[in-house]
Each structure stands twice: as C-alpha cells, then as structure tokens.
Symmetry: C2
C-alpha cells in the first residue's frame, strides 16, 4: 500500500558501505557508537557523588547488547534519518532500560544477585546507591532528549511524550513490572501473560522503533506498520528470552538459569511448554516479516533483526 | 536596578480580589487547586495496575502542604504569568518531590515508617510497590510538562531541562540524597552540610521559583534575583525543618520526632546547636527579604512566604 520512498542520506548508507555489512557487524558498530555516546552523557566517576556515579556506570557498562538503541538506529536508517539525530534518543532508551534493570534486581523486587555475568548494582554498591542510580538514570534519560540541539523543540517534546508513556503507568513498563509482581502469587491466563510482557518488555521496544520513525518524519501509515512490527518483535524477544532462561547455562547466560522457572513466574515455557513456546516464536517471527513487507522502504536490516531475535545467542 | 514592570493579568489579581487575601489563604487556595489538578493527572485507583496507582495516590494525597507548587504559583504571579500556564509544572514538581519522599523512606534509605501522620508508602503497600510508585511518579512529572498544550514546545523543553537538572545528579536532588547517605557514617563540615541541603532540598525549591519566572518570561536579571531568593528560602526551609524535628511532638509533626538527631544525621541543630541554628535562620530570612527588594515587581507575597517559612508551623 505504501508506494513513496524518501530520499536516503542515512546511517544505512554509511554502514552498508563499510566492509562487513551483515547484521552482526551493524549491531557491533551501533554498540560501540552508543557506548561512546553514553559515556559522554553520563556523569564521570571522578565527579561527586562518586558512589552513585560509579553505580550508574557499573550497570550501564555491564556489557548490554544495546538492542533498543540498535533497533532505533535501524528504523531511523530505514526511513532516512541522519544518525546524528538518532543518538540522544537511543541513549535515553538505554538509560530507561538500565534503570529498570537496576530497580527490578532489588531484593524486594526480583532479588537477583547476578546480571550479565557480574554482581547486580545493589550487590556491588548497596541498595540505597542502587535505588538512587536508577532514579538518576531515569532523570538523565529525559534530560538527554530535552537537551539535544540536533532535534527541533517540537520533536524533543514529542519524543519525551512517547518515552514517558512507554515507561510509566498505566500503559508502560512500570505497569508491566507491577502486573508481573502481582502474577507471582497466583495463576495467570494466557491473556494476562501477554499483557505483562507487552508492557514490561514490549513497550520500550515499540517506543524505540517509533522514535526512530518519528525522528525520520515517517508518514502516519508507516509509523503504524513499524509499531506493529515492533510489537511482534517485542513478543518474539520475550518468548526467546524465556526459552534461553531454561536452555542456557549460567556461563552463557550471565545470570542464574532456570530462576524464572523455579519462582513460578509468568513465562511462555511455563505456560505452554518448551516445544509449543518454540512454535509460537516461529509464528510471531513470520508475522513480523510479513508486517515489514507492507513497507516500500529498504527493510533488509529490519528483517535481519527479526531473524536475529528468533535465533539469538544468549 | 530593575525598573520595568510588566502588565499584570495574573493569579495574583484573581486571588487578591478574593475575601481573605493573606498568605495562609493563598496557600490554602493553591493547595486545593494543585490537589485538584494532581487528581486529574494521576492514574485513577480504579485503573489497573491498581496497587501501584493506589500507592501513588496514598503518597501524593498524604496531606502535603504543596510548598513547591505554591512558590511556583507565587513567583509566576509576581512576574505576570497566567495561572493556567503554571499548573502543569507546579504539579510536576510535587510529583518529583513525592517520588523522592517515597524512595527516601525505604528501609535501605532513611527507613521511615511514618510520614505526615500515617504509614509511609512501603509500610502500607510493600517495598516493591513503593519503588514502582516512585519510579512512575518521576516519569509522570516529565510526561505532564511535555503534554501541556498551554505552553509552547520551546517552553516545555526549557522547563523539562530545568526540572531534570534540579532533580538528578551531579547538580540536583539525587546527588543531595547521595551526599546525605554518605554523611551518615562520618563527621561532616559546615560546608558539606550546606552542600547536602542545597542539593537535597534546595534544588527543587530553586527550580520551582525559576520555573514560575521562566513561564512568565521574566528577564534574565530578574531570573537571577529570584534564583538567589529561592536559594535563601531553601536554606531557611531546611534549617527550620531541622529545628522543628527537634522541638515538635510526634503529633504535630506527623513523623517520629528527634529521629534525625538520634541517627546522627547532618542537620543544622546537630552542627551548630539549637540557639545558633535559630539565629542562622533569622539571618538567612533577612537576606531573602533584601534580595527581593532588588525587584521592581509586586513582591509582597514572596516576602510573606519568607516570613511564613521562618515562623512556620509543623
């Protein structure tokens, strides 16, 4: 249905002209780029209050794969945005994601000691510093977008609205975490399970894709398609994450495997069984690819991202 | 030095034409107004996830005096802003303030069971819900300002920048809380004590005044004077808060009195003794009044606020 294609002067071109242009290479390059930008945005460890700044950096630079920033950059590239305009928002989403991990790991929440192969923030720096590090990271996310002079004031306001709705309650990440905690103490339906993940994991993945498209001034119909694609990607991400938690070893996973199973948390393998969860992942992957086919844009990279999530390493 | 006065079509006029126009009446009216706006902005308790929404409302509607919103409205009025443009920002600052109280009360932070005469958020709803309620309130603060159509996009961006810097680290509220926690385990100097309070309490009071002036398009020199006034007000607020903590009874204070003294926290009476802290408060109050005298604006209400803080009830 979508026939027009915009002029391209994009990250895509810059990256595809580099020697190794496959997805792994793209992900590695965006990871390096985003890490370098994050380093610029975060307060240095040498600045006081040092403990909180060290706690922030401990968690932000814990080897995360920068999936949300990469998705934002890939979508922005697909719709022709200059890379320079995409980076503040990409970093802001990583800050929001990291703040949520820090708070979710706390003893009163998921009580995790290990994340990405090393001590979680509160284990390393104490609970008080971890709470403050998470709080400050959320603040810095909004500050970062609000201060990006590469974006018009109108665009900054629009992005802040999108990010806030996707990370708060009742329609965002915090709501998902609240539903998840509630669900620990009782049986949940398939519908509830999907709602938990749509909010807890999906909302931030969807907003990453939407922000990329918004920065690129994608049309309304394109934004709607990319929102659908990202929703399917988010669901796929959660199913494969749940599967990895069961099948991987502690070494490859970087956290205690099987923990979700033991604590009877709402996960897809817990609900459907491992084989049916795998089939479900396959169907969602196929839907995501079909959604992309509605776009008259160079969607190879977005297809490759869907493939990568289906078969992703731990 | 400041000679021009702008045309006035203000909250001031609306409020001063009402029968009882003294400061107590102004504070009561803004409290009612801000409470009603907050009620509009916050998710209803009837909406899921209910526990987190109930936790948010428990803490936001715990009888707070809305000092920061009142200061914002009073400053905005002084410089001639329409009330309608002041309310979103006033509510946002109350959300940030409340989120900080919820997190500060947690067991790993100040470990307080009682606040404003009733159970703190984590005592009533559990730690997990309290952490999420605080997180969501911070998000909603930025969302609220970003969505206010009474303000231009440019103004919204500017206000979000101000609020973020004042509530994060290294120059805002979270930094102050981090210094305060550090200070619990050791002796602090007078200079450190002042830095803790300048960030932990002062930053949000200063930004309340600055936002009021910014919304009203106050001149740079006026903004600078009002920033100085608010810094003195913030310091005065902290000294009298510390004094109240020692002298008041649990009933009037609504929290366990003397708690700060017992835990050897950095407070003015702990540092200087009660009598010298009282004298210090008097000097700071005088300075705040003199600062206001530099403005060629109707500053009666701002003078009255300084008087009120000096002699404030518990």
């Amino acid at each position: 249905m979508i026939m027009t294609a915009k002029a391209m002067k994009t990250v895509s071109e810059m990256v595809t002209t580099l020697p190794n242009s496959d997805l792994t290479s793209f992900l590695r390059k965006t990871q390096i780029l985003v890490d370098s930008e994050l380093d610029r945005y975060l307060p240095p460890e040498s600045a006081s209050p040092k403990q909180v700044h060290a706690a922030i950096r401990w968690s932000v630079f814990a080897g995360g794969k920068r999936f949300r920033p990469s998705l934002l950059l890939a979508v922005g590239e697909t719709f022709g945005a200059p890379q320079q305009q995409l980076l503040s928002c990409a970093c802001a989403l990583e800050m929001i994601h990291t703040y949520s991990l820090i708070h979710d790991d706390l003893p009163s929440m998921d009580d995790d000691d290990l994340r990405r192969g090393r001590a979680t923030c509160h284990i390393r720096f104490g609970e008080a510093a971890a709470i403050l590090a998470g709080d400050a990271l959320q603040t810095l996310a909004f500050q970062t977008v609000s201060e990006d002079q590469a974006l018009s004031g109108k665009k900054r306001v629009q992005l802040i609205q999108e990010i806030a709705r996707a990370s708060g309650t009742p329609e965002g990440m915090v709501a998902g975490q609240a539903y998840d905690l509630e669900a620990e103490s009782r049986e949940v339906s398939a519908q509830e399970l999907e709602q938990i993940h749509r909010l807890k994991t999906g909302a931030l993945i969807i907003v990453a894709a939407r922000c990329g498209a918004l920065i690129a001034d994608a049309r309304e119909d394109e934004l709607s398609v990319i929102t659908g694609y990202a929703a399917q990607l988010g669901l796929l991400f959660q199913i494969t994450d749940d599967l990895l938690d069961i099948t991987a070893t502690a070494e490859t996973l970087g956290k205690t495997p099987g923990k979700d199973m033991r604590s009877a948390k709402a996960t897809y393998p817990n609900f459907y069984g491992v084989d049916s969860a795998r089939e479900f992942a396959g169907r969602v992957h196929q839907q995501a690819r079909e959604t992309l086919d509605q776009l008259d844009r160079p969607t190879e990279r977005l297809h490759a991202i869907a493939d990568y999530i289906l078969n992703r390493p731990a």
